[in-house]
């Protein structure tokens, strides 16, 4: 298994685009998640100009244990950047026809796909570790009084975050295998959410919404979004879902497996 990961990393680590995109991803991810308080301060100052006042110290954005879900939700917005990287990585193999040469050289098609999937796993783990480190740092800085009893409440969101990133990267990998051309694949990746939203809008018209509305959670991109619910409404005194729903996890894992399986089917039966 590490052998296959090594092969894919060997391809990527000398590729400048890989470093540029990954660098941008981890930098923006890091800076954004670490500078939430500064953004709040800025919002407060803007608010003050309009006569409203927000006491930012009353918003426990970076307080344990709120911080886990808060930071992870924000981080989820950045996964598209990694997905673009994955698309470039797979479509390059088609464009340069190196997929063909890899197979000629003695990789099976499944091994080839595995090497890509393993890289996706690695990128997902790196994202989790990155957010974990930032959350710990900023949490210790901003939390006035740490209550150890509640410290780990919500840390299961890291598992959800891993699945979220991995499932989305699997989706990107599958699109790349199906479409093969980088530009078109990236456009599809960008539009996927909108396409899914339009489909849902047409299926779940107002009349039938009540009866079959529960089916929504089975849609692939929705299932990925459902893993980590938006937390910030709680600061406006609204109920939020502050735990990871097991059904959401099951559905998202199901889709991640299917994405990779579809990619495998396509790869297996096509002439390359």
């Amino acid at each position: 298994m590490f052998h296959l990961l090594k092969i894919d990393l060997k391809k990527m680590t000398s590729y400048r685009t890989f470093w540029v995109i990954c660098g941008l991803y981890f930098l923006t991810l890091g800076f954004t998640t670490a500078s939430g308080m500064e953004i709040l301060k800025w919002l407060a100052s803007k608010g003050a100009e309009f006569g409203a006042s927000i006491n930012i110290n009353r918003v426990p954005l970076y307080h344990f244990p709120d911080i886990w879900q808060n930071l992870i939700w924000i981080s989820g917005l950045f996964k598209i950047v990694l997905a673009v990287m994955v698309v470039i990585s797979i479509t390059n193999e088609y464009q340069y026809r190196t997929l063909r040469q890899n197979v000629i050289d003695g990789m099976s098609r499944w091994e080839f796909l595995q090497s890509k999937i393993l890289t996706n796993v690695l990128l997902s783990i790196m994202s989790v570790v990155m957010i974990l480190v930032i959350a710990l740092f900023t949490g210790f800085i901003y939390t006035p009084e740490i209550e150890w009893n509640y410290f780990f409440v919500g840390s299961e969101f890291f598992v959800a975050y891993f699945i979220e990133v991995f499932a989305f990267l699997s989706f990107a990998l599958m699109l790349g295998v199906l479409i093969k051309r980088s530009g078109l694949t990236i456009v599809m990746l960008m539009l996927a959410n909108m396409i899914e939203a339009i489909i849902k809008l047409n299926i779940f018209r107002s009349g039938v919404e009540d009866q079959i509305g529960w089916l929504k959670q089975f849609f692939p991109l929705e299932s990925i979004t459902n893993l980590v619910p938006l937390p910030f409404a709680r600061y406006a005194f609204q109920e939020i879902q502050d735990y990871v729903a097991l059904t959401a996890v099951a559905i998202a894992i199901g889709w991640a497996v299917l994405f990779n399986y579809f990619a495998y089917l396509k790869l297996k039966k096509s002439d390359i």
Binding site: I7, K10, K11, Y15, Y96, T98, R100, V103, D105, E111
Partner: protein
């Protein structure tokens, strides 16, 4: 001799087009096997099936007497159509990648780079290479696992005469090491120069298979020149001549079976004529090739 490759009714259809039709081939160890055929005759498709990148529509093949898996391919060095490498990696890095995939000893890399004379450019990116260098790197990558079999598809495509000569020398050097080589080409001259056996494909059908040495067998052609005015009339009297053609001041006598140049020489000598030029020519592969293709068109 041990059979390295055998195919059994191997077939590939692309929609309605039958690219390869019920192909039966057998290649034995140590052969330099040429696959000939016009463009689009199914050579590359056949090799693609043998190397696992094209799924056969029907039929089967076996390498080393066993059904093929991706592990078998690691023992084969192959370049199909064009050299394929990561353009942003150096020649060295590309070969390292090939070696990791094939499970080859990385120590071989320096050796094969030397064989194809690319050592001085090994750290330059592949995209900066000339076509000849790319072809040579492709041969190096095929050799990196010290394979038992080498498959080369049009290895001299697009090269200048010097590049062609270089590649030919490399192929000969490799063949001298006792490796089995399968060489697809439409350059007949090339196949005749390096191959021991050859097969001819046309629109996916196998037209001919046999040793290259057999090509020259059968009738021979003798070029004659002599200072005699009525040489052509005299030559017609010679009962070994099947036909006579004059070309560039030389007479080309197509011999009947069983007659050789020495018979013609004796005949002329008996007539009191001394030939100033006497040269036996075997039929070229090109001629044979065209005949094979023409035969089947008529039938």
């Amino acid at each position: 001799m041990e059979t390295v490759l055998s195919t059994n009714k191997l077939t590939k259809n692309f929609g309605k087009l039958c690219a390869v039709n019920q192909l039966d081939l057998e290649v034995k160890r140590g052969q330099v096997f040429g696959m000939l055929g016009p463009n689009g005759s199914g050579k590359t498709t056949t090799l693609g099936m043998l190397m696992g990148v094209v799924n056969p529509s029907s039929g089967s093949f076996s390498w080393f007497g066993e059904p093929a898996t991706h592990h078998t391919r690691k023992k084969i060095g192959a370049v199909l159509e064009h050299p394929i490498f990561y353009p942003y990696l150096s020649g060295q890095k590309n070969l390292e990648l090939n070696a990791v995939i094939k499970g080859a000893d990385p120590a071989n890399i320096a050796k094969v780079l030397d064989t194809v004379e690319l050592t001085t450019r090994k750290d330059d990116k592949y995209q900066t290479y000339s076509l000849g260098m790319k072809q040579r790197l492709a041969i190096a990558s095929a050799l990196v696992s010290d394979p038992i079999i080498l498959i080369l598809d049009e290895p001299t495509n697009g090269l200048d005469p010097m590049g062609i000569a270089e590649i030919r020398e490399i192929i000969k050097k490799i063949a001298a090491d006792g490796k089995t080589i399968i060489l697809a080409s439409h350059l007949l001259d090339e196949v005749q120069k390096v191959c021991t056996h050859f097969a001819v494909l046309k629109r996916g059908n196998l037209m001919h298979i046999g040793p290259v040495d057999d090509v020259g067998k059968g009738e021979e052609i003798v070029e004659v020149q002599a200072y005699h005015d009525d040489l052509s009339i005299l030559l017609q009297e010679f009962n070994g001549s099947a036909s006579i053609k004059k070309e560039n001041g030389l007479f080309e006598v197509m011999m009947k079976e069983g007659f050789h140049s020495k018979d013609l020489n004796r005949f002329l000598f008996d007539k009191g004529i001394v030939a100033s030029h006497l040269h036996t020519r075997k039929k070229s592969l090109e001629k044979q090739f065209l005949e094979i293709l023409a035969d089947h068109t008529n039938s």
